[in-house]
């Protein structure tokens, strides 16, 4: 039994990270605490640097990655946003370092609870961005993300996210990989053009405006190639470790579902139990759980959810003033389904905000709303706020 924080640290240890940069903020702090113990005890041979803030943390791992080291950092909540400047240089510089996030609400007011808005705020910065729903998946995603990010077809930094407290602090069963399995799955990091005393290179130079658009187009092109790399890595992971994940979208009792919850992170565990209960009551419910926000699995979602009559997006992030007036995921889900001839009705439910749990009864309520939408063949609301 271990927490998501311990699982993340075990993942970094298995990946034999070479440079770690820490700065404390709840709830991710325990990841660094565990890594510090591992380094101090001689279990992990890594340079452990304490940054003077999150901006420094990201800067340190940028430099380490540029010099050819497998680098690791992490944060939570306003720590994630404090580091904002460094996200785009890391992605643009193609430094495949990893940042482990235990989600926390943004201020104000100070709240330790989980909310996905912190990491979701970085979704346009060019990183790989994925969510785990258990400590086991945190460990697994740590390894998979390094493998995908360091692939020469990708070369991008990765954010491995877990819900603060629910995943980061509640222990669950975790099976760690054998050294031989990790060695087979994750080859050493091979930088393409590292900083070097013997072979001088320039990183991050100033460019002219006319060079900007081609570079952006190249990065967009790279993202088109990532899904294949994710599929390969996920399949390889299943072969070597024996744990099989849907590469992009976990589909739970979805094949014949009339209504579905679209969700990511911890509360999908409650959603699964809710689906089972609804099925017993004769409601054809299902769940689609998103594993990657970037790259967004447009076609996979259209395929997984196209036949469903009504989808309820369970949002654990906010996008104030957005098109759907609530969270973030519904925008991209509706866009993903738009080209279907017979597309599902889609609405959203704001839940789990401020770190509040989403109760089984909340899923009953959502199922009621979705069933009503199916019956009336329409929805007149983009967003419902749970518990308000």
């Amino acid at each position: 039994m271990m927490t998501g924080c311990r699982a993340a640290a075990e993942g970094a240890k298995s990946a034999e990270v070479e440079v770690i940069c820490s700065f404390p903020i709840r709830p991710y702090t325990a990841i660094m605490m565990e890594l510090a113990k591992m380094v101090a005890n001689g279990e992990l041979n890594a340079e452990f640097i304490h940054g003077e803030g999150e901006h420094a943390q990201l800067s340190v791992v940028l430099g380490a990655s540029a010099a050819g080291a497998r680098a690791y950092t992490g944060s939570s909540g306003v720590g994630v946003t404090y580091a904002m400047e460094i996200y785009s240089p890391m992605a643009g510089g193609r430094y495949p370092a990893q940042m482990s996030i235990a989600d926390r609400t943004l201020d104000p007011p100070g709240d330790f609870g989980s909310e996905h808005t912190d990491a979701m705020s970085t979704r346009d910065q060019g990183w790989l961005l994925g969510w785990a729903c258990s400590p086991q998946e945190v460990y697994d995603n740590t390894l998979m993300s390094y493998r995908i990010g360091e692939d020469h077809r990708v070369m991008l930094p990765q954010m491995v996210c877990q819900d603060g407290y629910f995943i980061s602090h509640i222990p669950d069963k975790v099976t760690l990989g054998e050294t031989s399995q990790v060695k087979e799955f994750l080859p050493p990091y091979r930088p393409i053009s590292p900083l070097s005393l013997t072979n001088p290179v320039s990183h991050g130079p100033q460019i002219r405006p006319d060079q900007g658009a081609p570079m952006d187009a190249m990065r967009a092109q790279t993202f088109l190639a990532i899904p294949k790399v994710i599929e390969e890595a996920t399949a390889d992971f299943a072969r070597i470790f024996g744990r099989k994940y849907d590469p992009f979208v976990e589909q739970y009792r979805l094949a014949d579902a009339d209504i579905a919850f679209f969700i990511m992170g911890a509360h999908s565990n409650t959603a699964r139990a809710a689906v089972d209960k609804l099925r017993k009551e004769g409601v054809k419910a299902g769940m689609a759980r998103l594993r990657w926000v970037r790259p967004w699995p447009t076609h996979q979602l259209a395929e997984a959810l196209g036949h469903v009559k009504a989808v309820g997006v369970v949002e654990t992030s906010t996008s104030y003033g957005g098109a759907m007036r609530g969270g973030n995921l519904i925008h991209e889900l509706r866009a993903s389904l738009y080209d279907l001839d017979d597309r599902p009705l889609v609405t959203s439910f704001m839940g789990g905000l401020g770190g509040e749990t989403i109760w089984p009864a909340d899923f009953d309520y959502m199922a009621g709303v979705l069933s009503k939408m199916v019956k009336e063949k329409r929805t007149d609301r983009y967003v419902y706020w749970l518990g308000m």
């Binding site: 927490t3 311990r6 702090t29 990841i31 605490m33 005890n41 330790f112 602090h169 222990p171 409650t270």
Partner: protein, 219 residues
């Protein structure tokens, strides 16, 4: 959904943080070894890095898999464990408890003394005291293994050992033999098991205590 038994442990920040967590982890591990499903976790709103603030730790036990993992507090604790006696003075430690519950306190005071400090003692079917401090002679073993991490120094070296022994004896929820395989201080655990003082209330007596304390709680 299966019946989930809730145990809430109250301790003091920093000095007893590990001890409080040890109590829940030992209990959950022992329950799992006996084939039960168990969860053990810290309350997240408490501030365990503040010295002496009250911190709560939770255990949940069930015969079936616990499907809703993310109820992050024990709202209806059947058993409340107090690692430091003065906590009962400022806080309603029995809140949420349904009538017929159990309270176990680490103290050298008498049960009758402790009852005077509990305005809603009528909720209790059982109260017990164990002098864990005297048994182990030490209250703080280690500051390590704080929130979200693991305890690398081993569990059940300090007052957690006699406390879990006492809980096992009083509640019968776990076997002493299972605890012995987990705690570092087995003799401390056994002394807690043997030396705990227990008082059971018959329902009628419990009602009387409630009436005397002016509680409106109905059985």
């Amino acid at each position: 959904m299966a019946k989930v038994h809730e145990i809430t442990v109250w301790a003091r920040g920093v000095l007893q943080d590990k001890e409080g967590r040890d109590v829940i982890n030992i209990f959950a591990k022992a329950a799992q070894a006996e084939g039960k499903h168990a969860q053990a976790f810290d309350n997240y709103e408490d501030l365990p890095d503040r010295v002496l603030v009250t911190v709560r730790k939770y255990v949940r036990l069930s015969d079936e898999e616990i499907t809703h993992k993310y109820v992050y507090t024990n709202d209806k604790p059947e058993v409340v464990v107090i690692c430091e006696a003065t906590i009962v003075k400022g806080i309603d430690v029995l809140r949420g408890m349904e009538p017929g519950g159990t309270l176990i306190i680490n103290t050298n005071r008498s049960i009758d003394d402790m009852l005077k400090l509990l305005p809603n003692a009528n909720l209790l079917a059982t109260i017990a005291t164990v002098d864990a401090d005297a048994i182990t002679g030490v209250r703080t073993v280690d500051f390590s293994g704080s929130e979200g991490g693991v305890d690398t120094t081993g569990i059940g070296k300090g007052i957690a050992a006699p406390i879990v022994g006492a809980v096992a004896k009083v509640t019968g929820l776990i076997k002493k033999e299972s605890l012995a395989k987990i705690v570092s201080d087995v003799s401390g655990m056994e002394r807690g098991y043997n030396e705990v003082k227990i008082k059971h209330f018959k329902p009628a007596v419990a009602e009387l205590v409630g009436a005397a304390a002016g509680s409106k709680t109905k059985r």
